[in-house]
């Protein structure tokens, strides 16, 4: 019965039929693979899901003639779902993809609220899952992994930057501008803020920076005069924050009104300032803010699934959408590069255990870089490597006006966590305040 359905579907799909004619010598049988893809398309994290329709279009095109694995030609279907930036919805759509759609492989991206529940659902159901764009510590510890204990995760795999990459980027970026090495920090009282306070701040201290931390504040705070007064009194020439975007906009305008921004030589923002609109919205005081990227069109890697260079990916998105490139493009496409590679490496993509085993040692070129799951990061010297995880770079740089045809563009100023990424310029002191 199932075979009949497969044949009918194969007959309807014209490119698939064409492919099976052309490769009839090697492919004797056919099958179908379903890939689930969960990202935030609506809700506060919707900016991450914006390039999805373009990226999924590229992936569908690359998969349209199917995948030939172990003498069988499989048609590939991508089923995309909106995690709505909410954990409960993320879990619900993941369970739906697993139980109703019966996906063979799950992909998930962008923020712990979307990714972690999807990973958890896959772990529980025994479906291989690959995810990215959640700092890997937040993905691993946030789901119940413990430092120093063996990994509890058998089905879920992840690749992303972590605290170490932020530390490397900051300590290579900040010495480019002379300062008093006093860092005013605004880390909110949320999962990211507290993780950064616990892990990054001590590393920065050991690198010779003085951290002025007024303490955690609640997301959604509307007045920051207490913190601003403290930063002015301490003359913090470096400023670092991991806020939700509207809070930073409120803070930075008040900092300008109350005279703090004229003290700032480096304004280093993370979590906000990922996408151009978040910085253009601050104009003119957004010009010159320092940030970090996990992908840019100057990345020297190719998407192994589509064969596209990073430049082609950026240009393609800009011409098809009319919008400026953003770093999520490379990350989203890389998920399909990994999916393609692991399905091929498994020998039998319908056998979930074989796909999982292939993940453990997979090495693949993606648009964000060469990923190799036999090389895993750890929680610092002396701790065991964390299987399931590959760490990827964060490259430091600066948002600048007049760098391209767009109102503001990201200029890469250091490449400590991936020396293959070309450096375009030196960090310039912040002068817009």
């Amino acid at each position: 019965m199932l075979k009949t359905t497969g044949l009918v579907l194969g007959g309807l799909a014209v490119p698939g039929a064409l492919e099976s004619c052309l490769t009839s010598n090697t492919s004797t049988t056919s099958g179908s693979i379903k890939i689930g893809y969960v990202s935030p398309i609506t809700g506060p994290a919707a900016g991450f899901g914006e390039p999805d329709s373009y990226v999924i279009g590229l992936a569908r095109k690359a998969f349209q003639s199917g995948l030939s694995i172990g003498g069988t030609n499989y048609s590939v279907e991508i089923v995309s779902r909106d995690g709505q930036s909410t954990s409960s919805v993320g879990a619900r759509v993941a369970n739906d993809l697993i139980q109703s759609q019966k996906v063979d492989l799950m992909l998930a991206t962008s923020t712990p609220e979307t990714v972690n529940p999807v990973s958890d659902a896959c772990e529980a159901a025994g479906v291989p899952c690959i995810s990215t764009v959640v700092p890997w510590e937040a993905w691993y510890l946030g789901r119940g992994g413990k430092v120093g204990q063996p990994s509890p995760f058998k089905w879920t795999y992840h690749y992303c930057f972590g605290v170490l990459q932020f530390f490397l980027a900051y300590t290579h970026l900040w010495p480019q501008v002379p300062t008093n090495k006093k860092v005013g920090v605004m880390y909110p009282n949320d999962a990211d803020g507290n993780a950064i306070r616990g892990a990054l701040a001590p590393l920065l201290k050991s690198a010779g920076y003085t951290i002025i931390d007024p303490g955690p504040y609640e997301d959604g705070t509307n007045d920051y005069s207490a913190q601003i007064a403290r930063f002015i009194a301490e003359d913090c020439q470096i400023f670092n924050t991991f806020p939700i975007p509207p809070d930073f906009a409120t803070f930075w305008r008040q900092a300008k009104q109350q005279g703090y921004t004229s003290h700032v030589k480096i304004g280093q923002i993370a979590k906000t300032g990922l996408f151009p609109s978040q910085v253009t919205a601050l104009a003119p005081i957004g010009n010159g803010l320092a940030s970090g990227v996990y992908w840019a069109p100057t990345w020297p890697y190719k998407s192994s699934l589509t064969g596209m260079t990073s430049k082609q990916l950026g240009d393609g998105y800009e011409s098809s959408s009319g919008k400026q490139w953003n770093q999520q493009l490379g990350a989203s496409l890389s998920l399909f590069d990994v999916a393609n590679a692991v399905l091929k490496a498994s020998g039998n993509p319908k056998d979930k255990a074989k796909v999982r085993d292939a993940m453990k040692t997979l090495a693949v070129e993606t648009s964000v870089g060469n990923l190799d799951w036999s090389k895993n990061p750890n929680f610092g010297p002396g701790t065991a490597a964390v299987p399931n995880v590959v760490s990827t770079p964060i490259i430091g740089g600066q948002w600048k006006q007049g760098a391209s045809k767009w109102p503001i563009d990201f200029v890469i100023c250091e490449n400590s966590s991936d020396p293959n990424v070309p450096v375009a310029s030196q960090l310039q002191p912040y002068t817009a305040g």
Partner: protein, 292 residues
């Protein structure tokens, strides 16, 4: 000096809350509706201003004046399409209807404008970032003064409207007892619609200030709604000047709380809200009993 500065910034912040809360207060006072979509209506107003700025290149303030008639029409449309029908179905239905409306507005905005963040700060001119440095630790921001003056003018104008105009008298009569007002020939349907239109226009003003103070995206509404709601309750449900004072009390509580520890900023506001709630209704037991 830092305490003085905290109080000053608290007053500015509170005036912003009061502008956001004003429309909520009007709708509750006249119709006994708690509009859960109020924050989203404010954000919708900000988007309309944004579109006018983008199309014509005028300043955000001029664009707001152009947007006013649009907001009036939207207010009437909102009333006749959603609120009036739900009002007929009892006290709980408007709450549910506006909750649904909130989700609809957010998703329509995302369809139309993408999830990108926007700001009106750039198009508002120098007022966004300029300030007077009184002494080292005391700064008076131009935007803070502008919001405070606007709040006082808006609340003053509303007071004049309510006490000196025919529409104001009809509103007060309808608020007291809609059925009795009908008996003396007041068209409560029209009065309700005017109140909604007024609330929507003032919500858009709140959206304008939100867009100048910070950035907004399609889901920015609910975060601000909670503070507006607290301002209304602190000032006394349905009391107009109370809402202004309630907003300012909330703002000062937050900035003074931040002086103790940044984490207490939002918490101090919530505690004030809770204290007022308990005090006004004569203790938690009464609150629970009436809730039942």
């Amino acid at each position: 000096m830092t305490i003085l500065n905290a109080i000053l910034q608290g007053i500015f912040l509170g005036a912003f809350y009061a502008v956001l809360a004003c429309g909520l207060s009007i709708m509750f006072g006249v119709m006994r509706i708690i509009n859960l979509a109020h924050g989203d209506v404010a954000v919708l107003g900000a988007y309309i201003v944004l579109v006018i700025v983008d199309r014509t290149g005028v300043s955000a303030f001029v664009a707001f004046l152009i947007a006013l008639p649009v907001m009036v029409v939207l207010g009437y449309a909102l009333h006749f399409s959603v609120l009036e029908r739900s009002l007929r179905a009892g006290i709980l239905t408007p709450l549910l209807a506006t909750f649904g409306l909130s989700i609809v507005i957010q998703n329509l905005l995302q369809l139309a404008f993408s999830p990108d963040v926007h700001s009106l700060g750039g198009s508002a001119g120098a007022v966004t970032t300029s300030s007077w440095q009184v002494t080292g630790g005391l700064s008076v921001s131009a935007l803070g003064v502008l919001v405070l003056v606007t709040a006082v003018v808006v609340f003053g104008a509303l007071q004049l409207l309510l006490s000196n105009t025919r529409l104001g008298w009809m509103m007060r009569a309808t608020a007291e007892d809609a059925d009795a007002a009908e008996l003396v020939g007041i068209n409560s349907r029209a009065v309700y619609a005017s109140a909604t239109a007024l609330a929507v226009v003032i919500a858009a003003l709140g959206g304008l200030f939100l867009g100048i103070r910070s950035v907004f995206d399609p889901v920015s509404g609910p975060t601000q709604l909670i503070f507006a709601f607290e301002a209304v309750v602190i000032g006394g449900m349905g009391s107009l000047w109370g809402t202004l004072l309630g907003g300012i009390a909330l703002g000062i509580a937050q900035t003074l709380g931040a002086q103790i520890h940044p984490q207490f900023a939002v918490l101090a506001g919530h505690l004030l809200f809770l204290a007022v709630l308990v005090a006004r209704f004569g203790g938690a037991r009464v609150v629970l009993r009436t809730a039942r």
